[in-house]
């Protein structure tokens, strides 16, 4: 090594190397570097002695503590199951009405149900269950397939137009696109359906068209939506006289629906969630609907 010079600022020698003006001081490695290198090294070595670590030909050193991540997971799942067991067993065993009548159990249902709903249902129905365009408001509107607890449970389990063999099946035909009605007729029908929930849309100029639409309704729509257009839970057809619309309630939206048809889809949750979880979601939803109805009624009075 060539002879260095002394750096006036630090008093250290340089190494004597120089690269385009850059020199290096021959300062010894600071003591803390060695200290931490040794302590961290000892820690790391100690860690590898305690934990599964060094591999050898056919296996690996299991570690002095005998820790294994698969066992750890299995154990914590067991513990969590045990912690939930007291109420989970009751959810599994008792029928919906029994659970509903127990305030303590319903508190748990509300707690767990909110998270389950958020993780599984909110993506379509919204965090507040009031739906989005294309997805029904299930907090307030009448349920397409009925709101009896057992019916709701069945709908969630089997789904709508889903993969389950028992799935609920429903389809609104594409009356315009498939040529069952002319564009003019679809327009007349749309006018009539709009007037069902909003009488203000009837004017002197469109009265006649709406009357024609009414006739068309009687021949084409009553089978599913009922004579009074209030929907039939047997066919999952919605009430057309209220303010709740899945695909939009403007005349244009309704025209589009009649012209191109609709076939909504809800997954068959029986294949994804446990029966207890589906029970919790059902009860949570019914509870939510009850509260929504309560607030609406309260607001009205």
């Amino acid at each position: 090594m060539s002879v260095g010079e002394r750096d006036p600022f630090t008093g250290h020698q340089t190494t004597g190397h120089e690269w385009n003006g850059i020199k290096e001081l021959n300062t010894p490695v600071p003591k803390p570097v060695y200290f931490f290198l040794i302590t961290m090294g000892v820690f790391a070595l100690g860690w590898t002695l305690l934990m599964p670590s060094w591999p050898y030909g056919t296996g690996y050193f299991k570690g002095l503590l005998g820790v294994d991540q698969k066992q750890a997971v299995a154990r914590s799942i067991e513990e969590a199951t045990a912690q939930r067991a007291s109420w989970m067993i009751r959810i599994e065993k008792e029928d919906l009405a029994q659970i509903q009548s127990d305030t303590d159990l319903m508190r748990t249902v509300r707690e767990d149900g909110r998270t389950l709903f958020g993780d599984n249902c909110a993506a379509c129905h919204g965090a507040n269950a009031r739906g989005n365009k294309g997805f029904p408001n299930i907090a307030e509107s009448p349920m397409l397939w009925g709101d009896n607890p057992q019916t709701v449970l069945q709908t969630v389990t089997a789904g709508i137009n889903g993969a389950d063999p028992n799935t609920r099946v429903s389809q609104m035909l594409a009356f315009g696109r498939d040529g069952m009605l002319t564009q003019e007729q679809v327009s007349q029908l749309a006018g009539f359906v709009t007037s069902l929930s909003d009488a203000a849309t009837i004017t002197d100029t469109n009265k006649e068209d709406i009357a024609k639409g009414k006739d068309l309704f009687a021949t084409n729509c009553v089978a599913c939506h009922g004579k009074d257009a209030k929907g039939l839970v047997e066919s999952g057809a919605p009430n057309l006289t209220d303010q709740y619309w899945i695909y939009g309630g403007s005349r244009g939206d309704i025209y589009q629906t009649i012209f191109s048809g609709r076939q909504g889809h809800m997954p068959s949750w029986g294949a994804r969630l446990t029966p207890a979880q589906i029970k919790i979601i059902t009860l949570y939803l019914l509870d939510l609907r009850k509260n929504e109805a309560g607030t609406t009624a309260g607001g009205a009075s």
């Binding site: 600022f9 190397h17 690269w19 385009n20 003006g21 850059i22 490695v29 290198l37 090294g41 389950l116």
Partner: protein, 552 residues
């Protein structure tokens, strides 16, 4: 630049373009029913553009022999401009995707504009486009200055620079079209990967051939780091990208690895890409430009050695900490964690070596934003490496993994360390290379400094908060033993931080735009002065002059 090539090099260039054209046309023909066909055309058009440029200057007189008494800096100059442009593009897309996360409805209904396609344009744009060009440009400069040897020829540096940028264009355009092999930071498909190998081998050969002709007895530490960067990135890139294409006419390929072996290979690659691309290469940059700008000797040669070997040895083992609590066997995780923890020591020794080098020059740090960029980079390097070792601890990782904390950590390193050392170095290098008395505007550098610092701080703090909140929400149980929060709840909680993150990114991007403007204006201002220093010529062609302390 063609007129700088010798006659033989022009023939070599013509041959290269011819081969590239043939490959491009072949790809376009074989892949006419596939997206690879579009890439074939991009390659063919690049080759034609190159050939036209070559033919236009083909008959220019050969460069004079006096060129050999100067360093060859033109590739570095072009590299600097490309770095700055890629920086603006990559960071712009970064702000875009950050805004998409905060306001998802702000999108247009086109496949290319979806988050999944834009995000790799951001990551590759900043890592490979910005970072890679910065490394190539500065490595050519540092290599020549610290070996006192000119680059071995005039063709290969251009081949590396343009070949590398062709790779970057293939990568980014491929993502937008939907071509990806779904490996993070290694998304480009097989043909782009092969091309990068070719470019990389030439890059390495430039290094070796120059070092072999060096006039300095010792190899400077910056070159160790640049060499480690080139060598290890080659190793990582080749192994992680081993794949079988479904045919030569299709972009799609299948990895040679599957399942947890694939995951381990990918994160061995991924972590060492951080280690050797984003750390080792930029440490090389720091070891030259920081002491040069400060006018101080490196604090400790011995510490440089210890940290270099510590970093290169230990990083290699750390990748498995990306797979804690997964299907990866527990013993691999333990080893990854153990090495990651020890890795902190050489990392901090490097950061300390840089900061202690500034002893005796702190008044310059106060007054000179360029040097302050480099100082701050060393501090962020220390912060990010501490955080990295901390997050590699399994128990900590169980909270931080899959959360925004990881994103915050990456950006503490990428914005605070990589981008700051790059801008500091380019600000120092530009006046030297273009022989200007100073940058166009020192005030703009100040502006850039404070924008970059505040942008980084806003970004990183937002992601720390968001990440920790997210991690805690995901593991909070209520009294009945079920999760307290749904995933959507955690998204709602993150929203304000996502807005803050996009704002922080916007601040950083504005700084990058200022840098591009400032450097372009520096180049366009026509005042020429004496070169970097009296010693700025290769040794051996000039009588050895007493070496003056380098001017700035």
């Amino acid at each position: 630049m063609i007129s700088q090539l010798t006659g033989n090099e022009r023939v070599l260039a013509a041959l290269t373009f011819l081969i590239l054209l043939c490959v491009g046309v072949a790809m376009a023909a074989a892949g006419r029913d596939d997206l690879i066909g579009t890439h074939g055309w991009i390659i063919a058009v690049s080759a034609i553009a190159g050939a036209v440029a070559l033919l236009r200057a083909y008959d220019a007189p050969e460069p004079s022999a006096t060129r050999l008494s100067e360093y060859y800096d033109d590739p570095s100059k072009v590299g600097i401009i490309l770095t700055l442009i890629w920086g603006v593009i990559g960071m712009l897309v970064g702000v875009w995707v950050a805004a998409l996360l905060a306001w998802p409805e702000l999108t247009i209904d086109a496949a290319w504009a979806s988050f999944g396609r834009l995000r790799p344009v951001h990551t590759s744009g900043v890592i490979f486009g910005f970072g890679g060009n910065a490394l190539i440009a500065t490595s050519f400069h540092v290599l020549q200055r610290t070996t006192r040897a000119r680059l071995p020829d005039q063709f290969s540096p251009w081949f590396v620079l343009f070949g590398y940028n062709l790779f970057c264009v293939l990568a980014a355009s491929g993502y937008l079209m939907g071509i990806t092999q779904s490996k993070e930071y290694a998304e480009p498909e097989w043909y782009a990967d092969i091309w990068l190998v070719v470019v990389w081998v030439v890059y390495f050969s430039i290094y070796i051939r120059t070092l072999l002709r060096r006039k300095e007895p010792h190899i400077y530490v910056a070159n160790w780091y640049y060499m480690a960067f080139i060598l290890v990135v080659a190793l990582l890139h080749i192994i992680n990208n081993l794949a079988v294409p479904i045919s030569f006419g299709h972009a799609k390929s299948y990895s040679l690895f599957s399942g947890v072996q694939d995951a381990m290979t990918q994160w061995w690659y991924g972590h060492n890409a951080v280690a050797f691309f984003l750390t080792a290469g930029f440490l090389g940059m720091m070891y030259y430009y920081l002491p040069k700008r400060a006018g101080r000797p490196i604090y400790s040669y011995r510490t440089s050695i210890i940290s270099f070997w510590g970093i290169t040895f230990m990083y290699m083992w750390a990748g498995s900490h990306h797979l804690h609590y997964t299907a990866l066997p527990h013993w691999v995780q333990s080893l990854g964690m153990a090495f990651s923890v020890v890795l902190l020591v050489p990392s901090w020794a490097s950061a300390g070596n840089a900061l202690l080098t500034l002893n005796g020059a702190w008044h310059k740090v106060r007054d000179d934003a360029v040097l302050r960029f480099m100082m701050l980079a060393a501090i962020f390097y220390g912060l990010a490496t501490f955080e990295g070792s901390f997050m590699a601890i399994r128990a900590v990782n169980s909270l931080s993994h899959y959360t925004d904390w990881t994103i915050g950590h990456v950006h503490a390193g990428a914005l605070g360390w990589v981008a700051m050392i790059t801008y500091g170095s380019l600000y120092a290098l530009t006046p030297w290379l273009w022989k200007r008395p100073a940058l166009y505007s020192a005030k703009l550098v100040e502006w850039h400094f404070w924008l970059a610092l505040s942008g980084t701080v806003v970004y990183v703090f937002a992601m720390w908060n968001s990440g920790v909140i997210q991690g805690l929400m995901w593991r909070t149980y209520n009294d009945s033993g079920t999760l307290s929060y749904s995933f959507v709840d955690s998204l709602v909680a993150m929203h304000p931080y996502y807005i803050a993150r996009a704002f922080g990114g916007l601040l950083f991007l504005s700084g990058a735009v200022i840098a591009l403007y400032n450097i372009v204006m520096t180049i366009r201002s026509p005042v020429a002065v004496a070169s970097e220093s009296a010693s700025d010529i290769p040794l051996g062609l000039e009588p050895a002059a007493p070496i003056a302390q380098a001017g700035e």
